[in-house]
């Protein structure tokens, strides 16, 4: 129960998240505080942190690497984009770009009801659960795991990307969907609305952090870690790990979809590139750099990598891939537990640091 980072560090992180949320709330109500641009960046980082948490839950605590979490992120993103477009159309009467492009005057039938947010939310949850449930059930039942599982999830997100690139599916095709004008009746470009969306994202991040923490400290969490460390032994002892893995997998997919729902309104566009295998791989990189198997590691990794990426893609876009690949190699070779190892360096003798044994029992 002690591979988790200390309670101390977790509390500090949670406090920091809540402080940022408070700062954002102050910025909405008063002229002080953060500008809309900074708030928007913070909000996007928070969405990425939620996404990283979702992957950390399944990879760090269950030892199952998914290289297709972008799929669930994308489902959330696409559903919320559909809602925003339909809602904007209902309020302003503006026909979405992709429909003009395709020469359609009416929404396809499956867009019915998307103007109503609870329905969109329900669809997002249902689709995510359906896909993750079916795929997870068949995979875990035939004990597909390890590298196999990783690559098959990657193939899955790749398939989704290819499908979404088609223009005739009614989801925007290769141009994606953009031009969201209204969110819950408010104009989306208004400064207070931008900051409010950011504040919601940060608050959700805090809630997910807390929720994951509670889950991991429960009996269920202990079973998760037991499964990660020696699934065969657990099964031999008579515990069926299938249901446990399936539940965590679906939960993780739901959190990823939630991250997508937070992310898309803030960037104002969604296109199939969100489903590219590279993005899904990058999520794993954030978690690995921050330190998988630690909730704070996932959050720090996502925020740090993306903050550097935001900064560098403006300052020196050519340099970024080299830095990222260097970082990955460094983390993989020198700090197998990510930046969390840095913290440990002071406390324990470096060479004595125990490595996570999670991957020694993988299938291949």
């Amino acid at each position: 129960m002690k591979p988790l980072a200390s309670h101390h560090a977790f509390s500090i992180l949670l406090a920091a998240v809540l402080a940022v949320a408070l700062l954002l709330v102050i910025s909405i109500a008063t002229p002080f505080g953060l500008s809309a641009y900074v708030a928007n960046t913070v909000g996007q980082l928070a969405a990425f942190a939620v996404l990283a948490l979702s992957l950390d839950l399944i990879w760090g605590y269950l030892g199952i690497l998914s290289l297709g979490h972008g799929l669930f992120f994308g489902i959330g993103g696409y559903v919320v984009a559909m809602h925003l477009l339909k809602h904007s159309w209902q309020v302003t009467g503006k026909v979405p770009d992709f429909m003009q492009f395709m020469g359609w005057s009416e929404f396809p039938f499956y867009w019915a009801g998307f103007g109503f947010f609870p329905y969109a939310l329900l669809v997002a949850v249902a689709v995510t659960l359906l896909i993750s449930g079916v795929f997870g059930y068949v995979s875990f039942r035939s004990r597909v795991g390890g590298v196999y599982f990783a690559i098959i999830t990657q193939a899955l997100v790749y398939v989704a990307m290819l499908l979404m690139f088609r223009n005739d599916t009614g989801f925007g095709g290769n141009n994606g969907m953009t031009g969201f004008a209204v969110v819950f009746g408010w104009p989306i470009e208004l400064k207070s609305v931008v900051i409010a969306m950011s504040a919601v994202s940060v608050l959700v991040l805090g809630m997910i952090l807390l929720g994951c923490r509670l889950l991991l400290e429960s009996r269920f969490g202990i079973l998760m870690i037991a499964t990660r460390d020696d699934e065969v032994r657990l099964r031999t002892l008579g515990y069926e790990t299938l249901r446990l893995k399936l539940v965590v997998w679906c939960l993780s997919a739901l959190i990823a979809a939630l991250a997508g729902m937070l992310y898309v309104p803030q960037v104002g566009i969604i296109n199939p590139r969100l489903l590219s295998p590279e993005l899904s791989l990058e999520i794993a990189v954030w978690v690995a750099i921050g330190g998988r198997g630690h909730l704070i590691g996932a959050v720090i990794g996502a925020v740090l990598v993306n903050a550097v990426k935001f900064w560098l893609s403006a300052a020196a876009p050519e340099l970024w891939p080299f830095i990222l690949s260097g970082l990955i190699v460094l983390v993989v070779l020198v700090f197998p537990n990510g930046l969390v190892d840095l913290a440990k360096l002071k406390l324990v003798r470096p060479m004595g640091a125990k490595r996570l044994s999670s991957e020694t029992t993988e299938l291949h």
Binding site: W59, L65, L67, V138, S139, R141, S142, R143, V144, G146, V147, Y148, A150, I151, I152, Q154, A155, L156, Y158, V159, L162, L163, F165, R166, V232, P277, E278, L281, A284, V285, A288, E318, P321, F322, L324, S325, G326, I328, V329, V332, L333, P336, E359, T360, E362, L363, H364
Partner: protein, 538 residues
């Protein structure tokens, strides 16, 4: 006396081209008269020139060719003495072909739009018979093709008879057939139908289908029968050709898949490590092929056509060296953490892609197409046996043979198989497991480099080209079953054929989606793949 006779014969022979028979001279004079006449007679002259192309003597044709060209180029001047062709070095009389001056009052006939077409036909017909240059004759044939039915009947037959270039001869025969098909003589038409049915393709089918509307189809039962029989033969030929074409393109796609996957199969089978940089090694193989081509272009241009062959050892050795380096520096430390090796090799692929992008730019590279991957042989229907695809297929078969030999017949192969089956036991028996890993990684990477080489002439080569391969080739590896070359071959063939079968129905993207979903579903049912090494399921 005898000598005198010989001398006379010689003189006559030497003068022959200029000595015309009286009848010929009158014909030519008449033609020149028409050329200098009004619009209608100019048209007659054009038709007459075409007639000369079909039936005239060689000398007539040479004479007419010069005239037709001169009229089109407006180099013919009519004056009181007849007509003269104005050349850069002076003027020649059109009839006698002797130098003479042209009077100032001379008039140059102007072609109307209709007559211009007639003269261009005449010019092309004469060029077809007289031009010494194959390209010029081919161009002439293309001009004539459009009005094949209005040409004199013997023209094309005569041209076929004297043609020396086999490809052009075949084209001429096709055009002649089309002309014969529309000739007024039913027997000729039926014979032409038979000849057309002998080379069944879609063009032949449209030609024959057009005859269904012909009045003769309803009137002449013999002709109707011939048309129906020809339609049937051609349709059958096209169906066979289409089936063969699908099979062939499936085979070539499969060989590309196989080339991309075989390196991955060796590495994954042995170490359980997925090299996400495999696609980038393919890309580097293609870039090295390009570099070899450029070096040869600089230093030995005469060997340029052979760069694909000369690059084989270079591409293999370079990518194998990169692979060995990767293994020694990076992957060696990650064997107990395969998921981390995924991330590490992805970092490598990111690095290589961007390194190449920064060094060479993002544009597609240009490759010389050597003669042995150009063109193809039409077989039946619309199926063309193209050499570039054949190159990929032969290359894949050779790679398969060499890999198989290496795995089965060499000590390294024996070691690789032993470590693949049971790493710990192999180690206990004294096999240098780490060194085998390194060599196998080098082998797998070198095979990727060869795949890049094979792709160079048929694929667009740019820094991103590798990204498309990793998912496809991994699917081939797991579908076939880890650690079996046979499995990789069968899986590549299967995926290639299924892909090609679905593609015409729903398009390339849908084919890819369906194939991937099928594989994913299959793996849920049988995770060990088609050909699994028997062992306990963990």
């Amino acid at each position: 006396m005898r000598r005198l006779l010989v001398a006379v014969v010689f003189v006559v022979a030497a003068c022959a081209p200029t000595l015309l028979s009286a009848a010929e001279a009158t014909d030519r004079a008449e033609l020149i008269g028409k050329l200098c006449g009004d619009t209608a007679s100019l048209g007659d002259a054009g038709r007459a020139l075409t007639g000369i192309a079909a039936d005239g003597s060689p000398d007539d044709r040479a004479w007419a060719a010069q005239l037709a060209r001169a009229v089109i180029d407006r180099k013919l001047t009519c004056d009181a003495k007849g007509a003269a062709v104005v050349l850069s070095e002076g003027s020649l009389d059109a009839l006698s072909r002797t130098p003479r001056t042209v009077s100032e009052a001379g008039r140059t006939p102007l072609l109307s739009l209709k007559n211009r077409a007639l003269f261009e036909t005449a010019d092309a017909a004469l060029a077809l018979r007289t031009a010494p240059d194959v390209a010029r004759r081919a161009a002439a044939l293309r001009t004539l093709e459009r009005q094949a039915s209005s040409l004199p009947e013997h023209l094309l037959e005569a041209a076929v008879g004297q043609e020396s270039d086999p490809a052009l001869k075949a084209q001429m025969m096709a055009v002649a057939q089309a002309a014969a098909l529309n000739s007024p003589d039913p027997a000729k038409r039926i014979a032409a139908l038979g000849r057309i049915a002998a080379t069944p393709d879609r063009r032949a089918l449209t030609q024959v289908r057009a005859l269904l509307a012909d009045p003769a189809y309803a009137a002449n039962p013999e002709f109707k029968h011939a048309v129906d029989a020809a339609t049937l033969t051609i349709s059958r030929g096209i169906a066979v050709g289409d089936a063969l074409a699908t099979l062939y393109s499936g085979l070539s796609f499969a060989s590309i898949l196989f080339m991309a996957a075989i390196g991955l199969a060796v590495i994954f089978g042995l170490m359980g490590v997925i090299n996400l940089a495999q696609g980038e090694l393919i890309m580097i193989g293609a870039y090295i092929t390009w570099l070899v081509q450029e070096v040869i272009r600089q230093f030995a241009p005469s060997l340029l056509d052979w760069y694909l062959i000369l690059a084989i050892p270079v591409a293999f050795v370079t990518t194998a060296a990169i692979g060995i380096g990767l293994e020694a520096v990076l992957l060696r430390h990650l064997y107990r953490r395969p998921l981390m090796s995924l991330l590490a090799t992805w970092a490598v692929s990111l690095f290589l892609t961007n390194l190449v992008r920064v060094t060479f730019g993002t544009q597609n590279l240009n490759f010389v197409t050597p003669f042995y991957v150009t063109g193809g042989v039409p077989v039946i229907g619309d199926f063309i046996f193209t050499w570039n695809r054949m190159f990929a297929i032969v290359f894949a078969i050779l790679t398969l043979g060499i890999t198989w030999g290496l795995m089965r017949l060499t000590p390294l192969g024996l070691n690789i198989r032993a470590v693949t089956q049971n790493r710990i036991m192999a180690g206990c028996l004294g096999i240098p497991v780490r060194r085998v890993d390194m060599m196998a990684f080098g082998l797998g990477s070198g095979l990727a480099g060869l795949a890049g080489l094979a792709l160079a002439p048929i694929y667009s080569v740019n820094p991103q080209m590798g990204q498309n391969f990793i998912i496809d080739s991994f699917m081939v590896v797991v579908l076939g079953g880890v650690g079996t070359i046979v499995g990789t071959v069968v899986a590549a063939l299967g995926i290639g054929q299924v892909n090609v079968l679905i593609e015409p129905l729903w398009g390339a993207v849908a084919a890819k989606v369906i194939v991937l979903l099928m594989i994913i579903a299959f793996l849920q049912w049988r995770p060990e793949g088609l050909f699994a090494i028997k062992g306990r399921r963990k």
